[in-house]
Amino acid sequence: MSRIEFNKVCKRYAPGLPLTIKDATLTIDDGEFCVFVGPSGCGKSTLLRCVAGLEDISSGDLSIAGVRVNDLPPAKRGVAMVFQSYALYPHMTVRENMAFGLQVMGADKAAIARKVQNAADILQLGPLMDRLPKALSGGQRQRVAIGRAIVKEPKLFLFDEPLSNLDAALRVQTRLEIAKLHRDLGSASMIYVTHDQVEAMTLADKIVLLHTGKLIDERGSVAQVGSPMTLYHRPASTFVAGFIGSPKMNLLPGKLVGAEAGHALVEVAGQPVRAAVDARAVAAGSAVQIGIRPEHIVVADTGEGAALPATLLHVERLGDASLLYVNPGAGLPTMTVRAEGSVVRPAGTALSLRLLPEALHVFDAAGQACMRTVELPV
């Protein structure tokens, strides 16, 4: 059993400073892979360190497996942490590094040897066991750091940006290894901190997206909790919509004309746009924003959906696709469109963008999303 519950957890580093974490309330289930993600300065590492016990919680409760751990020292919480810099003990061999934590806890020698061997087998560290950390590559050090966590057989693993010191190729490989490790270890939960949304989307069962700046104070630290697909398809606010997905979602200002159960009508740049959302909670005539992801915009002269004429400003060709930066007319921000890669379009071309109702998001004046009414992947 390793359910982790946060109940209105707050963290203030010093009196007089603003809250770094405000009212974080969430639950991480048994064996769940939870990723804390957010822009820099959102307090994701702080929240992780609160779980580890390296930072005190200012108010609120944190419980692991039903036990309130606010006042428990780190070693008594049943958690193991993998640090960004790996933090291997430089004077100890790989074997000693992995055994050290168990020795401190006072486990007997045979058990330590067995657990270390077991972890070494899982991570294929066998031939490296008697080397010092300085004789290892970055990826190997990373594996030793993970091994040091595994031997403790914790209820909860904590990863603090573990891939940020690796080069791009190794990062992808290690990402896969961590995902596999999580599958193999079964019942242990994991909390993983990253600023990279690709890591978040690929690894997580549950993503916790955290607010930054003054949004922390206005709405609390947690922007949205949910599966990767939920955050992608049903972002709860413009903040979430802007953070998840690359390139960013396009947001256009508009005015709500009318709302029914299945769809809403929004006026954008003087023309009506139909969106498959339930906007009945928003007063008709109030200002709203419509959102559409670059990959959901269709470039076509005829067809379904509201047409939005635009001028092509710049093209980035990626091979499989091209990113088109377009100007949709006066008063509207520059939009990004992800289009098929083989078509050549010179800058200055006039385009017609199609906004399909099923692809549209609508956010009210405060930036909160209206429920989408279409069937979406979970």
């Binding site: 942490m81 003990y89 430089p90 806890m105």
Partner: protein, 278 residues
């Protein structure tokens, strides 16, 4: 790499030879003089015509307990270094790694204390030694020596301690280490070079110290070796026993030489550690 011109090489080696002569010369003269006796001492020839160890044997068989002085010095210096290291390592952990108010002021005070010349605190120190009942005891010297060596040792070790990575300490905390275990099992092995360098300097300081040793000890048996040497007397009041003094000086230098040679590598890495990222 370019080939150095011949003239350059000659100049370089000449300069190196000069430095060696200046720094080793007096020591060499001391060694050679210690091998002479009687009238040969006043012979301007540098190399002794008849080398003899008479001065050395006389030293240990003379009226003064020279062996005892040596032993006293070894004990005092070792205890001073041992005590100072334990105190300095724990203090530097607190000063280098724990956040508390007034730390900067405390560090400055430490530095300020070490600025006082020995003479300025001599009388105060005398009172202290008397109050502790340590007057005229060899081990009593450990107190003033530790007081004088600690500020420097703490200051140096604190800078090293502060530069150790924070995540290492946090990893140890996650592993369940108490502060003492962090200091002695995680940090200490990383601080060895710094410890050896500062320890050696503390040892040399205690080994060479003269003023306190002269003031706080009056009994011959309790004296340390620097004072012992100054008290070596000739056959008559008008004779300065150069041979014995030189022999004693050679003997006193040897332990330091030995220590430096043994720890040579550590010292170098200690003095340069932290200068560049490893």
């Amino acid at each position: 790499m370019n080939q150095r011109p011949l003239l350059g090489s000659v100049a370089l080696y000449a300069a190196a030879a000069l430095v060696v002569c200046i720094s080793v010369g007096p020591f060499l003269y001391m060694v050679l003089t210690s091998l002479k006796t009687g009238a040969a001492l006043f012979d301007p020839a540098i190399w002794p015509k008849q080398a003899t160890t008479a001065n050395y044997t006389a030293l240990f068989e003379g009226a003064q307990p020279f062996g005892r002085h040596l032993l006293n010095s070894v004990i005092v210096a070792t205890v001073t270094v041992g005590g100072a290291m334990v105190l300095a390592v724990t203090a530097s952990y607190a000063l280098g790694r724990i956040r508390f108010k007034g730390k900067g002021l405390l560090m400055l005070t430490l530095l300020g204390v070490s600025m006082f010349p020995q003479v300025a605190v001599l009388s105060g120190m005398f009172e202290l030694i008397q109050a502790l009942g340590l007057f005229n005891r060899t081990l009593g010297l450990v107190v003033p020596y530790t007081i004088f060596t600690l500020p420097f040792t703490v200051w140096i070790l604190t800078t090293f301690m502060r530069d150790l990575p924070g995540e290492l300490e946090e990893a140890a905390i996650m592993d369940g280490c108490s502060p003492l275990r962090i200091i002695f099992q995680v940090f200490l092995p990383l601080l060895w070079p710094a410890l050896v360098s500062t320890g050696l300097l503390a040892f040399i300081g205690a080994w060479n110290e003269f003023l306190f040793a002269l003031t706080f000890i009056v009994e011959d048996d309790q004296r340390t070796v620097p004072v012992g040497i100054s008290m070596i007397a000739g056959a008559t009041a008008y004779e300065i026993p150069w041979g014995s003094i030189m022999a004693a000086s050679v003997i006193v230098t040897l332990p330091l030489l030995g220590l430096v040679l043994v720890f040579q590598k550590k010292i170098v890495s200690g003095l340069t550690a932290g200068a560049v990222k490893g």
